[in-house]
Amino acid sequence: MEWAKEWDAAEAHPAGQEDGELLKVIASTGGKGGVGKSTFAILLAHKLANEGNKVVLCDCDVECPNDHLLLGTELGERQEILQDFPELVEEKCIKCGTCFRVCRENAIFWVEGKTPQFIEDLCIGCGACEIACPAKAIVGSKKTTGESFVSKVSDGFWLVTGISKVGISETGPVVGAVKERAVKLAEDKGADYLLVDTAPGTHCSVVAALLGCEKVYAVTEPTPLGEYDLRLILDLAKRLKIPAEVVLNKADVGPKEKTDEIAGAAGSRIGFEIPYSEELVSAYCNKELEKVVGLLCEL
């Protein structure tokens, strides 16, 4: 892609696994919403568990987590995810407007001579205003940005679910916290695999989920929509220096030549195919995906 030239100039850190060689950390992602990331992640988790592996599945689509619903699993032990957000101590405020000037998110509204107004929807909780305030009138106050849950799906198969609080715009840090909990759980349980199910897209919360993975499965479908978004995801994986393989979902609804071509051009290949079938749709709706693991076709 033409604009890819900009990236090479950026100082990117290899985002692959640094340690924990015994634990394989693998992501299921895909730019397009509804393409089958969660379906694939769950089918793969069941397949690996059936083969005798200990598996932790981490649902990092914290804005709209679905894995617990598709597995029919009750959410287990809850933990709150907290982040500092600025609070103004009005008596100390000297109305200088420094906070307004340093905020890069336009989350502070200020009129000369008045106290600043903090716009919660836009604030990412970076703390720049707290640091810059000459009167030390802004303090960090912990607020809940989300929650994580650990649930047991079956023997040797656990699910970690992250849910961000509605209205939080920056969900990257929530994903980071959920993953941390999943890695710890995987280490405690001596898991063989940690599967990370990401959100759709290519933005920071997806990147937060992919960092530290040793392999990425890019789920797509044989339509122009799937093809366009596959290119983006493969470019992202390349940028993060994580090897990627393609999973072609609804494999028989359209021609797969373009998908093959896109995968090949990115130095990748189609690793799995899942046919479109009424059986799968029914299993999906009835939360019985374990019954259709056989539909996962490894190439």
């Binding site: 919403g33 679905n66 720049a128 715009s169 959100a199 897209g201």
Partner: protein, 268 residues
């Protein structure tokens, strides 16, 4: 799909501008039958911390301050992770040696197609891995606003994070599309809290309604009058997109169903 069809239906009697607010995976153009754009403008709505090691004394204050774990001490030196850096500038403010500068990065592009099935289309592309998806959406909307129009149809991203917030803020109404599956329902409820947070009047459309008629019935029961249409699962929809033909040009029964949704949107 629905956004593209509604844009085309509104365009029969109104001046319309179409806005693809899914900067991560922009697909609206494809549904309007276009793959190319008349203009592509790279934009910069975010920045990254760059450390000058000539000035840095390895005090670690930046690593301590960063709330996004984007700076880690490695072998005694602070190292900034490009992908975790949110570009907030807190480290630049806190560094006693003034060794950190925030450098602007081109994190995306805004694209315009003057005629996408008869409608001007504003779209964008966040460069994969970059931050600031929501700000790219804001840039797309700023430019689309300048286009003379009576109706703007915005196709939002999936989820409820910053790009969706940027899409929904300031709109007059929302049409939420769902599907009768456990995930469809759960995600609908999340999206609704966001729409309600912005006090937007809204209506619902159930896509692929016949894939699970019981769940569709449950949705209709729960949301009543808010449900203004049901679109069938039809392979002809996939055939349409595979051939890059707008859905309204197909002979799928979904076309009639979409027109019924459009009619409902006209009534007060």
């Amino acid at each position: 799909m629905l956004a593209s069809a509604l844009a085309m239906l509104y365009a029969k009697e109104n001046k319309v501008v179409a806005c693809d607010c899914d900067a991560d995976a922009p697909n609206l153009g494809l549904w309007l039958g276009v793959e190319d754009y008349d203009s592509v403008e790279k934009v910069s709505t975010s920045s990254r911390a760059v450390i000058d090691y000539g000035k840095c004394v390895n005090c670690g204050k930046c690593a301590e301050t960063c709330r996004f774990n984007a700076i880690k001490m490695q072998e005694g030196k602070p190292v900034a992770n490009y992908f975790l850096c949110e570009g907030c500038g807190a480290c630049e403010l806190v560094c006693p040696q003034k060794a950190i500068t925030m450098k602007s990065v081109q994190n995306g592009a805004v694209r315009v197609r003057r005629n996408a099935s008869g409608i001007p289309l504003y779209s964008g592309q966040l460069f994969p891995g970059e931050t600031g998806s929501g700000k790219i959406v804001e840039e797309i909307r700023k430019r689309a606003e300048k286009e003379e129009h009576e109706v703007m149809v915005l196709d939002a991203a999936a989820g409820i994070g910053c790009p969706v917030i940027a899409s929904v803020r300031g709109c007059d109404r929302a049409v939420l599309v769902t599907e009768p599956t456990p995930s469809g329902l759960a995600d609908l409820k999340r999206a609704l809290t966001l729409v309600e947070h912005f006090n937007l009047p809204y209506q619902l459309v159930v896509n692929k309604w016949d894939a699970n008629k019981e769940t569709t019935a449950a949705i209709e029961e729960e949301f009543g009058e808010k449900v203004i249409g049901k679109l069938s699962y039809d392979r002809k929809v996939i055939d349409s997109i595979v051939r890059l033909k707008p859905i309204l040009e197909s002979d799928s029964k979904v076309v009639g169903e979409i027109k019924a949704v459009f009619q409902r949107l006209q009534s007060p």
